[in-house]
Amino acid sequence: MTRAAAAATAATVFDLAAGTLRELNQRLHDLTPETARVPWRILHPRGAHAVAAGVDAAVCIAIEGHVGYYCAGMNQHAEITIHGMAGVGVAENMMSGLVRVQGSASQCAGATGHGGLLVIEGDASSRCGISMKGIDIVVHGSVGHMSCFMGQAGALVVCGDADDGLGDSLYEAEVYVRGRAHGLGADCEEQPMEAAHRERLGELLERAAVPGARAARFRRYGSTRRLYHFHVDHADQY
């Protein structure tokens, strides 16, 4: 028996076709450091909202199907893999841990996240990483418009293209794009990629397991810091 198969047989299985979402989330919230050692498999999510939201334990959770809104929201410590597509606001306000979406994600992925790593293996829709506050987000594909809007801290890594308005009103979040940025938002500009940036990006690409990605092929975008404080000469840009 392989290690993966052994882990699968040992997992706690919760079938959302049979049990309720409240019951599932309550059981996940009740995990202790000891009980969190057993991995979880969640079956038949069928697009349900708030699956595995608010988990606060170092547990491995596999969600086997497409999920609705706010999946893995507020995650702390857990490693959550979605074997499917995620709806609006996956891993929103994540504090720590790892959330991996094997399909694509809808808008506002990783919104307001404070920490941890969100990996989206497909594309992310608009407003990916909106108001991010320390989370790192790696998208294997492309992101929609207004991504990293008001990004304060953390890194958004886009291996494909970024639609219009990238990094609008950006604070100190770092943005890396390998493909084309179709338009930068107010106060966002391309900035030189230095050794420290390459190192950080390389480490994120490795953790996110992006096949064949090399940090040297990315461009970096950051804030011009002109819109931090209101200045009447910039009134047209707010």
Binding site: R46, G47, A48, H49, G65, H66, V67, G68, Y69, M85, G87, V88, G103, S104, S106, Q107, S125, S126, G144, H145
Partner: protein, 300 residues
């Protein structure tokens, strides 16, 4: 809020299952729209040269047989009549304008919901489950169907304010969102001769499309023009004789998910409405891009 669902069959063997699959989709969107619900179903075309009209009586006990008889005598035929709750679908060999005139004369108390070769529109206030029950939606057969569950924001909860809205022969529109320039646009359209019956913003979007099509635009041209002329938030699904179209505004706050297999194309506000469709686990599932017109048409 509001919920939108649509199902377009590529595999005609699925036509028998259409009503059952669609009913599940519509009821699933109750949380997004508990105030009223409606749908436009396509299929069951009458003979060449005939048109179908769907009419609604707001009271009870209408004498549909008598109306059908009178329409038959007017158009020298045996009119085809199908009654469904307080609605009836009547087919006669007539042009749309003649048919409208005849109905205004013979049955002024009825509301015309749709006219076309293929379309039938049904809608009422109440929870989606009650609409499914009332119109025996699970038994419906057809080629495609789009539906809407409404959470009213811009105007009152009435049948006239419910979706779909007819936008011309075999065309209809459902809307999730809100328009901010509908008052001025309504006045402009009314001056241009488009009849708009309610204070509802979505009816204005439907009227706008009707006006564009009357100007000679194709549906795709009309939808591209809408991106410039409609201000507000919207995800639209537009039913056509041969299929349907989807459009989201450039900001794309209002959700939409599409799924396609070899057998069907399905659309919904949220994935959960698609979760019970056959083969959904292996379907291509994606989110339509902002400001992009998507169309599926049997004729293409």
């Amino acid at each position: 809020m509001c919920g939108i669902v649509g199902l377009y069959l590529k595999d005609r063997r699925m036509e028998r299952e259409m009503g059952g699959l669609f009913a599940t989709m519509l009821v699933c969107m109750t949380d997004r729209g508990p105030d009223s619900a409606g749908f436009a179903v396509y299929g069951n075309e009458p003979p060449e040269g005939w048109l179908k009209v769907t009419v609604r009586y707001s009271g009870g006990g209408y004498d549909w047989d008598a109306l059908s008889g009178r329409l038959g005598r007017r158009f020298s035929c045996e009119a085809r009549l199908q009654v469904n709750a307080n609605y009836a679908v009547i087919a006669v060999p007539a042009a749309a304008a003649e048919l409208r005139r005849a109905l205004a004369e013979l049955a002024p108390g009825l509301a015309v919901m749709s006219i076309g070769r293929s379309i039938e529109i049904f809608k009422e206030i109440g929870a989606p489950a009650s609409i499914v029950e009332r119109f025996a939606v699970r038994k419906l057969r057809g080629t495609h169907i789009i539906g809407h569950t409404r959470m009213a924001t811009e105007s009152a909860v009435t049948t006239d304010g419910s979706h779909p809205f007819s936008t011309g022969m075999d065309l209809c529109l459902v809307h999730n969102g809100s328009l901010s320039n509908h008052n001025r646009l309504r006045a402009r359209l009314q001056r241009g001769g488009i009849e708009i019956r309610t204070e509802n913003d979505s009816e204005v979007a439907a009227g706008y499309l009707m006006w564009r099509l009357q100007q000679g635009n194709t549906l795709a041209e009309a939808l591209h023009a809408a991106l410039g002329d409609l201000d507000g938030f919207y995800t639209f699904a537009i039913g056509t004789a041969g299929g349907f179209a989807v459009l989201r505004d450039p900001i794309a706050c209002k959700p939409a998910v599409l799924a396609e297999t070899g057998q069907y194309v399905a659309m919904a506000s949220e994935f959960q409405a698609l979760a019970a469709l056959p083969g959904i686990d292996s379907a291509r599932v994606w989110e339509p891009k902002p400001a992009q017109v998507y169309t599926w048409d049997r004729a293409e």
